[in-house]
Amino acid sequence: MSQDIIIEDNYRLPPPEKIGREPGSFTSVIQGLVFTVDHKKLGLMYIASGLLFFVIAGSLASLMRIQLMVPDNTFLPPDVYNRAFTMHGTTMVFLVGMPIIFGFANYLVPLMIGARDMAFPRMNAFGFWVFFFSGLLLYFSYLGAPGIYGAGSAPDVGWFAYSPLTSKAFSRGHSTDYWTMSLLLGGIGSVSTSINILVTIFCCRCKGMTLGKMPLFVWLNLVMVFLVILALPCLSACQIMLSLDRYLGGTFFDTQAGGSAVLWQHFFWIFGHPEVYVLIMPAFAIASEVIPVFSRKPIFGYPVMVAASISIAFLSLGVWAHHMLTIGMSALGNTFFVISTLLVAIPTGIKIFNWLGTMYGGKLRMELPMLFCIMFLFQFLVAGLTGVMLAIAPFNWQLSDSYFVVAHFHYILIGGLLFTIFAGIYYWYPKAFGRMLDKRLGMAHLVFFTIGFHVTFLPQHFLGFLGMPRRIYTYQADRGWDLWNFVSTVGVVFQAIGILFLVANLIYSYVRGKKAGNDPWDAWTLEWATTSPPQDYNFAELPEVKSRRPLWDAKHPNDPDWKHE
């Protein structure tokens, strides 16, 4: 029956040469990027623009670290510092984290489930361009926000923009409006891309790939897009309300007119906490692909991994107020959010043990993707433990909004997410470009970045204990914070060198890298069954799947997995 529902979503433009452009010329390349609806190109465009914004936001972070290197520093004025941390946070979450994970999902999900493209290819392009322009809009604030009275520049209200900082009285000019509009626009892009990924997973799987046979990468991305679909609209609602307040005189968050500033915090964190899991699910997804392949064993406890991911997602919808334990909720409210937060540690712990169980007794191959994943396991454990500490209400009252919190979430987002993104880049680069990334440059990247990361962020735990609040632009010399701040800034240099090695590697290997072949890692999922890089249509013939490791079955016809599953 369903043979007739097809086609028009997959309309493709004629190749550039047919509309009067030289193939390979600059204009035809640009035209190819702008008009493409191919999930692989869009995926790479997502990742590339994510890395571009990563460099920008990383530079902002470096400026802040230079300012804090010594006490009473005057490198950045306070207002510029406020803009720097606001733009750094907003960019890293919405313009680096989200697009890179969408890029991986875009590139890999259709390949892994044996499909030719996403369910709605044109909507996919729409999602990318909406995200990209939301990023440009945010950065245009540096030029466009000083409105008629010259008030304001880039947004300076922090990435969670607590009321009443965002009210007209405290945020003059248009800086907050650029922030609002950019996030509203980005939210539309994220939700449409997520709907697309979800529909692709449910409706485009190749023959035989039941939900229980999907690679864990696909499962975890499914959980991730569910969270985006539930959480991002809450952020959009916040932004609509804030705009009504700022432009039509609404009183949602205006305490003097009966509104509530705390309501903003609740609404923001109802989005904000699931967002954290949106960002960490793809990290789990990449680790769950890389660790089995480099341990030469199937993943340990597949159904438990799926169940744990779903329960993390479920729990994450009910923990938001642990960001607000200091606002003076009732004892019952505090207790509820403390307990629900502590519960998250259980499925997360199960996951860590499952990855260890996968490695246990395996024939480990210490290639770069695996090394990054092992670092991820250690660092994510530290991040999880500081998370459990922060979830305890009395401890939280002591350390909320201190550098301990900064250290905690940077261990999650860099030590957890970014390290697995690096693992993913080393693992799938050969598939995307047909060449291996250089090993020596990769090792340099790993060593410098790991050292730099720990030297920067480990001392920030101590700074938190010593009472240093986040978001201060300078401090006095007698506070005892000098040494650790100095060490923390030194670490940034190592991180920057590490990133330079990565960029050099990406460029060098594109030209000179060793040819990869279709399946350089001897892996088991469907993306390795096609050419590197894959053709526009992905698979010459759509595959048929009988087990969770279709390529193992193909390589070992005498001992296929489906006999044991």
Partner: protein
């Protein structure tokens, strides 16, 4: 030509359109939840009049029109499925007319609130949360009307036949969703909040 779905006779997967619209409805529900919670949170908290019980009247006619349009759209779908394209055009047109009447009804209600009672979005927290919640719903009705008119124009030009059953069904899912939201809005705004005490 490549296929978007991999569905073959012995390997059946759900239709992308239906899963897509249901997921969109899920996302929209999250959006509405926040606005409904905001409205409920501000019940009884306005510092100055007008208060809900002084100015709100139960919107009988508008609600009947909107709920009725959910029935007429089902009738239209039935006609399309049985190949009765004239019946489809009539029922679909009726749905469109009922939707337009709802917008007209809300417009008169808002005119009274703003011009007679002096309640605007900036008057008090009731005004802010009322106009944003009802306005968000109204915006969804307007989007629905655009979709309904597009199909109506196509049907009037005899471009819609039973092959398009699924396209039409997707629009009807959206329209039913807009209706369901109205049930929540009616309950929260016109039943619960008019019984709250102020002052």
């Amino acid at each position: 030509m490549s296929q978007v779905t991999n569905t073959t006779s012995d390997w059946k997967l759900p239709s992308p359109r239906k899963v897509g619209i249901l997921t969109l409805i899920l996302a929209e529900s999250a959006l509405f939840t926040i606005f409904v919670v905001a409205y409920v949170f501000y019940i009884g908290k306005s510092l100055n009049p007008p208060y809900p019980h002084q100015v709100l009247e139960f919107p009988w006619l508008g609600s009947i029109a909107l709920f009725g349009s959910s029935g007429t759209i089902i009738a239209a779908e039935r006609c399309l499925r049985s190949g009765n394209s004239k019946g489809f055009l009539i029922w679909w047109g009726l749905t469109l007319a009922l939707g337009i009447y709802f917008v007209f009804f809300t417009a008169t209600e808002w005119w009274k609130l703003i011009m007679v009672d002096g309640l605007t979005i900036a008057t008090n927290t009731f005004g802010t949360s009322f106009f944003s919640l009802v306005g968000l719903h109204l915006f969804h009705v307007l989007v629905g009307l655009v979709l309904l008119s597009a199909v109506f124009v196509a049907a009037a030009r005899k471009k819609i036949h039973s092959d398009h059953h699924e396209h039409v069904e997707v629009i009807s899912y959206y329209w039913h969703f807009v209706d369901c939201i109205w049930i929540v809005v009616l309950t929260v705004v016109y039943i619960i909040s008019v019984r709250a005490t102020y002052g």
